[in-house]
């Protein structure tokens, strides 16, 4: 096979990987400070994408512009979900939380199905037809934007986690919640903000990928699965590992569809994950 085709796929995979890292980072942050997981995580990204679709069909609004609406809207949605639902099960057993969020999966997926039908959709953005080339390689503008904005957001968030007061508070809670509370950190407030921030990230990821990923009402669970894979691959609770794992998954995804193709190619990321869990269950950057 031509080496440029492989390089081309590698670049696209890497660029989409920025998004996988970003949605995985949301899961990692929420897990770090609440110890809980949200099986409806990917469904919130589906909500963002359908929001862009609705804004495009009704107002002809570019998805990039829609992100200015989608991100705050999902932040508020995140605050509400945390306040009315998630907060109440913080101390329940893991299985109960799984149930609660699986209930949310059903509600979101069916609502999307009833509102938008089961048709496959995608929304073009202003950069979709623009191609940037470097030598024999060329890449679509929407991929490049996804990479720059998604990767940039991931890097910025990592900087926030490492260098700012908010980040230090988040890490303190993830290390020892009781001690952090005793040090005067408002745990409840931080948890709420982080949960909403994770959902807001999905708003950004959704608006960036409307032209790349095909929308359908049931896409959420698969996105959640990808985010979880990234979360576990990176070494549970490891922020940097999550971002790295996102890129790896993006590449695995691209290689799978290039060399195998079709549905079988879609198995590659899962196969990789299964192998990884068997031979290195602590994740790529996790400590033994």
């Amino acid at each position: 096979m031509d080496i440029t085709i492989i390089a081309q796929a590698l670049i696209q995979g890497l660029m989409l990987g920025a998004i996988y890292g970003l949605i995985g980072l949301g899961i990692t942050m929420v897990y770090a400070i609440t110890g809980l997981l949200n099986f409806a995580h990917g469904d919130f990204m589906a909500i963002a994408m359908y929001l862009c679709l609705a804004l495009f069909t009704h107002f002809n609004m570019d998805p990039y512009l829609s992100s200015l609406i989608a991100v705050p809207a999902l932040f508020v949605l995140g605050l509400m979900v945390y306040h009315f639902l998630f907060r109440r099960v913080l101390k329940a057993e893991l299985l109960m939380v799984v149930q609660l969020t699986l209930g949310m999966v059903f509600i979101i997926e069916s609502s999307l199905l009833l509102t938008f039908t089961a048709d496959y959709e995608s929304v073009p953005n202003i950069l979709h037809a623009v191609r940037f080339s470097l030598g024999p390689l060329s890449v679509s503008g929407s991929y490049l934007a996804t990479f720059l904005v998604g990767g940039g957001a991931g890097a910025a968030l990592y900087w926030v986690l490492q260098k700012t007061d908010l980040g230090r508070q988040i890490r303190a809670i993830s290390q020892n919640k009781d001690a952090a509370t005793l040090m005067g950190i408002n745990t409840t407030r931080i948890q709420m903000i982080v949960f909403a921030l994770a959902i807001a990230l999905l708003g950004l990821s959704g608006s960036l990928t409307t032209s790349i990923l095909t929308m359908e009402p049931y896409m959420g669970l698969e996105l959640t699965l990808f985010a979880f894979i990234v979360f576990v691959m990176g070494g549970v609770g490891n922020f940097l590992g999550t971002l790295v794992a996102g890129y790896l998954l993006g590449i695995a995804d691209a290689m799978g569809s290039l060399f195998i193709g079709g549905h079988l190619g879609a198995m590659v990321p899962y196969g990789l994950f299964v192998l990884l869990l068997l031979f290195r269950p602590q994740g790529i950057l996790g400590a033994k």
């Binding site: 509600i107 069916s110 894979i229 198995m267 899962y270």
Partner: protein, 326 residues
Amino acid sequence: MMGENSRTDIKIYLGLLVLLIVLLLLPTRLSITWTRTFAMVFLFIYWASAWNIIGGMAGEINFLHPIFIGAGAYSSTVLYINFGVSPWVGMFLGAAIAVVLGLVIGWICYRSGLPHLSFALICLGFSHIGEIIALEWDLLGGSRGLVIRPAPGLANMQFETISTYYYMGLGMAVLMVGICHWISRNKLGYYLKAIKHNETASAAIGIDTVRYRLLALAVSAFFCALGGTFYAQLVLYIDPHSAVSITAVISMILFCAIGGFGTVLGPVVGTLILMPIGEVVRLYVMTGFHLIIYGVLVIVVILLSPHGLVPWFQSRMKKTQEESPA
């Protein structure tokens, strides 16, 4: 103490007996659509109870069941369509395949002591792979699925009247609940309970946790696969989305959650409440809306009574008994 417990038990058994008699007489009053719906409700009671053995009793977040159900549905159907093998025989091949798959996947996961969450993910991953295999493999009909030509006859596990399916489903559900009851009162049930509450401590007192979790998984897989064959024969059509369905296993888990995880009657109560409501909504309001109702109900139940309806009801009964002097 003992007397009070057995008095509660007798009340529950009487209640179940009345329910059973009502269900036995019901088909004479029901339309064909509703008889079919109830056959499906019984199948889900059966499936949810089988899931409950590994999911509720052993406390695992297990999503492998689409594979087990698919193994049962596809094995018997492929054998019947291509080789004329009776589904009564084919279903045991399906069950054997499901047990082997369950044991292999389970052994790999339990051995390495994966945390609950990674295990749940790996299960979802495997189920997804199972769905993809069903989509890709021509023998299994790909995305078009497999159609079973109607040829009523006992040997073909196809019946003239829908009420035969109804009674068969009812029989399966009763049998499965009986098995769960038996397990919960026996060594396996107590071991699973111990493993659920503290795996490390259970291992320390000498319970071979891997072995008993595998045993529970194998039992669960075996019966789920048999249910898969029944499903194929009831609908006479299977495709990857209906027979290797992650939505179906989530529904089962939600039914167990509403009724009460790990309790014998939880899956029965949860399914009997949710599925008929869902069906009414699906038929008279809007298709697809029933899943929203499931989602809302499970959230309400978890917020109000986190352990489900059966434990809530039991504690209520205990309270009233303690309050009344007689």
